[in-house]
């Protein structure tokens, strides 16, 4: 696999919400496409995620080296060999963390400005 060119992490930010959600979903371990979609949709905020848009996003993330296809498969019984599994790359993890920190900072600043308390 080709190595990602050296690009500062900040250049990836801000992430598109769907990209961030996918990265979050992968933090816990590798997943296949449909289970990712379910996970993301369960956390809410996205409405229905359609396949075309979703896989185009995945392709982009693969190309950006944020995720990679996982050669490891779950135990045979659980495996459906038609499914493709994805996992976070080191870069993907760093980028996700950076985005999380960015969001956290935004939330903190919103709180400091009493935006959150005011709204209840």
């Amino acid at each position: 696999m080709t190595r990602a060119p050296h690009i500062p992490i900040d250049d990836y930010l801000p992430l598109k919400p769907l990209v961030f959600e996918v990265l979050l979903a992968l933090v816990e371990g590798e997943r296949h496409g449909w289970s990712l979609v379910r996970d993301v949709q369960q956390r809410g905020g996205f409405g229905r995620i359609m396949p075309g848009n979703f896989y185009r996003t995945l392709r982009g993330m693969l190309a950006e080296h944020l995720i990679e296809e996982s050669p490891d498969r779950p135990a045979l019984a659980e495996d459906d060999d038609r499914r493709r599994y994805f996992r976070l790359t080191e870069l993907g993890e760093k980028v996700a963390a950076a985005e999380a920190r960015r969001l956290q900072a935004a939330v903190l600043s919103a709180r400091a400005k009493k935006l959150l308390t005011r709204r209840g």
């Binding site: 250049d11 598109k16 359609m50 950006e64």
Partner: protein, 888 residues
């Protein structure tokens, strides 16, 4: 999901490119199938989910086809990253280049200095090209401006000045111009405010400024009715005169000033930005066509005509229109206008014409200097490259690509070139000063005052630096990148001869070729200049002082008063100590003063196809004597030739031979002034170069000043002392005669003559400078190459010496090597030079492009230079200690 549904969804996925379908088609289909199942289970509308799927497939599919990656934003970011990567690599290269250059400050300084000379000279000359040739004319819509001339195809003349009658007819008959206007330079005496001054004025027909598109910054320009005699006592001041003479008096408009003794009302002041090729013109007056009650002349030609074409009219259309006008006038006035037409020429071309070829030649010459500089630096870098073979090989071995290596080497050259270019700006700054100094004021061209390092010139310098860097860097870069890594590592850093030797020697060949080309150009120009100076001017140049005196019409209204005044001045000047003789003439040779008229020879039918014309000059008794003009036959003008006695003329040899071939013209008669005045030839004098050393002599006729009284006369004084020392005394005497006589030019004849060759001298001087520069650079380059070759061959030389070769033989070996390559370079350079110089024949004067003296001289000079440049390394080779060199 049913089979039919699967098929339908697969159809939707056709929106995606095949590759994406192949990679994720199954996953997408499966995902949709699950979504469909969920929707059914939840009892949601199937139609809606199908609709969403269709929209989604189309949108994502088309995006996948036309926008790489999953979003435009990422694509853009990716681009910027790639770009950043390059910038980063470039920054690294630049930093590395600087480190390397600083590591060898000596070599860097030499290379940068060499380049600075080349780039600086180019920048200086380009600043002139930019100011004079590239800058648009300083008039609005200048592409519509043209000059109109009288065309005489039979005589091969396209740009004759125009007669007033023709001009007035053109104005009436033309259909393709917004307007045409005439200009004739004249002189006026400004009196009444301090010292009287003589000024050049432009007499123009009223629409002149409108045609150029110039609006006075104060007041107005001329009105149509102000070209009528009596209404023409108005004046428009040039900015400089207004500034210097009137202290920028804002209330000047409406005031009266005394011009040649007559009050003129100032009606306007021109803006500071107004430029005109004839920079001597300080103020402008209306041109009146009154001809002493007679109709305007059709035979006297003295007008320069400017026109502004109507919008949308092309020069070709204007030419067609004026051809019609010309043909009509020819039919109407067969006597005066036989074979005359109208020529329309683009104003920009006309203004640039006098200097265009010269400037382009100079640009070519400096380009050669830069090329030689580049060859020198290329050689320096090749030598450095040899020392760095190992470093490059190591870098290649650990994975640096060839392109990356070549790019790094090129970056180094370009950085060096930019250093050189920056230093070159200093050279250019100084060069522009020199250009300003040696630009002949006599050349009427726009833009000479605009010589400066403006952004365009700076951009040129920058671009030129980069191009130079690429030119001289390409060879070493290619050399570094194309080396065999294995070989270089095996050699352990020692550099062999081989290709590089041949390459170096080919540099010698090219330096010699380039230098010889340039030197031939410079040499031929020098020879032309010499030939021009050696041409017999026909009149005495040394020990002559000239003083122009003009008598204002108001105080000297008639011939008698003028003759009396001129007589008195002549006597007073002749009485000055140190003055031998004094003469006077209406038209001083080489001064640019001139006039011409048709002559009708008695007893001969005028043949309009070969018109007889001559240039009249009024002279005083001692004029020929003072200037050393020989009387060939007949008699000189005498005191007895006055306005009351029969009119006589002394003619020059050319006129005698042309109009009375094979017979003596003495006693023959001819008519001037449209046949109204009859004159008898009383003498023939030797030819005088009137129009320049390098111009042919035309028929000239000298009339006694008393029989043709001009209002201005140039006195010539033959002196026993240095003529310059008499300047003050001459001015003093003029004041004694009339304190209001304007101060006018008092110059030595040598100065007048020198000015007449100023343009040629400037060109020669510049080409000479560039030739010398080329020679020095080439010598330095050849020395460097030979020194390096000797260093490379020291081992071989050591072996030779050990085996019994004489030191002298070794020296001969090195010398021969240098000289053989010089001869090849010379053959190439001289051959090319002869061909190239044919194209520049116009700049040569009585010198063939293949002038053996020049070619031989250049060949000798370069061979001697080569020998000298080889001598030091050759002597070093002779003293090689075999033991020392063979030990390593």
């Amino acid at each position: 999901m049913r089979r039919s549904e699967q098929l339908l969804y697969r159809l939707l996925l056709l929106a995606f490119p095949a590759q994406a379908r192949c990679e994720f088609g199954d996953d997408m289909a499966r995902m949709f199938s699950e979504q469909l199942g969920e929707a059914r289970a939840a009892g949601r509308s199937e139609t809606r989910i199908w609709l969403s799927a269709a929209v989604d497939a189309l949108r994502a599919g088309l995006a996948e086809r036309f926008i790489p990656f999953h979003s435009r934003a990422v694509a853009a970011r990716r681009e910027s990253r790639r770009w950043r990567w390059w910038v980063h690599a470039f920054q690294q290269d630049v930093r590395y280049a600087f480190r390397l250059l600083l590591k060898q400050p000596g070599i860097t300084a030499i290379a940068a200095l060499t380049l600075a000379l080349g780039i600086g000279a180019n920048t200086a000359i380009f600043s002139a090209v930019n100011a004079v040739l590239l800058r648009p004319l300083p008039y609005p819509d200048a592409h519509r401006l043209v000059m109109l001339y009288e065309k005489r195809l039979k005589e091969g003349v396209l740009d004759n000045v125009v007669s007033p009658a023709d001009f007035l007819d053109w104005v009436k008959m033309q259909q393709s111009f917004d307007g045409i206007a005439a200009l004739t330079p004249t002189t006026v005496d400004l009196t009444g405010t301090g010292e009287p001054v003589r000024l050049f004025a432009g007499a123009v027909s009223p629409p002149f400024f409108e045609i150029l598109g110039i609006v006075p910054s104060l007041g107005r320009s001329f009105l149509a009715e102000e070209s009528v005699d009596g209404r023409d006592q108005v004046v428009v001041l040039g900015y400089k005169l207004w500034q210097e003479h009137y202290g920028k008096d804002a209330g000047i408009v409406g005031k009266k000033i005394l011009l040649s003794g007559r009050p003129h009302e100032v009606v306007g002041v021109l803006p500071a930005t107004f430029e005109f090729p004839d920079t001597t013109i300080g103020l402008w007056v209306p041109l009146s066509f009154a001809n002493g009650g007679r109709p305007p002349t059709r035979t006297g030609h003295f007008l320069n005509v400017y026109g502004r074409m109507k919008k949308g009219v092309t020069v070709e259309q204007a030419r067609g229109d004026m051809d019609r006008v010309g043909a009509q006038l020819e039919a109407q006035y067969p006597e005066a206008n036989r074979n005359h037409g109208v020529h329309v020429a683009d104003l920009r071309g006309e203004i640039q014409a006098p200097v265009k070829d010269g400037l382009l030649t100079l640009l070519a010459a400096v380009a050669f200097v830069l090329l030689i500089a580049c060859v020198n630096v290329a050689n320096l870098l090749l030598a450095k490259a040899a020392a760095r073979r190992r470093e490059m090989a190591v870098r290649a071995a650990v994975g640096a690509g060839r392109w990356r290596l070549a790019g790094q080497a090129l970056t180094e050259s370009v950085v060096l070139a930019i250093l050189g270019g920056t230093a070159g700006l200093l050279v250019a700054y100084w060069g522009i000063e020199v250009l300003r100094q040696i630009t002949p004021r006599e050349v009427q061209v726009l833009g000479v005052d605009q010589l400066k390092l403006d952004p365009v010139v700076l951009g040129f310098t920058f671009a030129l630096s980069i191009v130079s860097g690429l030119v001289f860097g390409l060879l070493p870069a290619w050399h570094l990148a194309s080396q065999d890594v294995n070989e270089s590592l095996k050699e352990g850093g020692r550099s062999p001869g081989g290709i590089r030797r041949r390459l170096r020697l080919s540099l010698v060949v090219s330096e010699i070729a380039l230098a010889s080309l340039l030197l031939v150009g410079a040499g031929l120009t020098l020879r032309s200049f010499q030939t021009v100076l050696q041409a017999d001017p026909g009149s005495r140049q040394e020990g002559i002082l000239t003083a122009y005196v003009s008598l204002p019409e108001v105080r000297y209204p008639d011939d008698a008063k003028r003759v009396a005044a001129f007589d008195e001045i002549e006597q007073r000047l002749a009485a000055l100590p140190g003055v031998r003789t004094v003469g006077g003439t209406s038209h001083l040779p080489l001064s640019g003063q001139d006039s011409r008229t048709g002559v009708v020879i008695e007893g001969r039918e005028p043949t309009p196809d070969t018109p007889t014309r001559a240039h009249p000059r009024a002279v005083t008794l001692d004029y020929f004597n003072t200037l050393g003009i020989r009387l060939i036959e007949g008699r000189n003008i005498a005191a007895s030739d006055t306005g009351e006695t029969p009119f006589v003329a002394v003619i020059n040899e050319t006129m005698a031979k042309r109009y009375w071939p094979g017979i003596s013209p003495l006693g023959k008669r001819f008519f001037t002034a449209g046949g109204t005045v009859k004159r008898e030839v009383i003498g023939v004098v030797s030819d005088v170069k009137h129009w320049g050393f390098d111009r042919p002599v035309n028929p000239e006729m000298y009339f006694p000043q008393r029989q043709m009284v001009w209002d201005g006369l140039t006195f010539v004084l033959a002196t026993d002392v240095d003529p310059v020392t008499l300047t003050a005394a001459v001015r003093e005497q003029l004041k004694t005669v009339d304190k209001d006589l304007p101060l006018s030019s008092v110059r030595t004849m040598a100065e007048v003559a020198s000015r007449s060759v100023a343009a040629r001298r400037s060109a020669m001087l510049l080409l000479g400078i560039f030739g010398a520069l080329a020679l020095v650079l080439a010598a330095a380059g050849i020395y460097a190459v030979m020194a390096q070759l000797v260093a490379l061959r020291s081992a071989e030389i050591g072996v030779r010496l050990t085996l019994g070769a004489q030191p002298f033989t070794v020296m001969r070996l090195i010398l021969r090597e240098g000289l053989v390559h010089s001869v090849i370079g010379l053959a190439l350079g001289l051959g090319t030079a002869v061909i190239v110089m044919r194209a520049f024949r116009g700049m040569l004067f009585r010198v063939s492009p293949a002038d053996p003296l020049t070619l031989g001289g250049v060949a000798l000079l370069l061979l001697a230079t080569t020998a000298l440049a080889c001598m030091v390394p050759a002597r070093r080779a002779m003293r090689v200690d075999p033991v020392k060199v063979l030990r390593f």
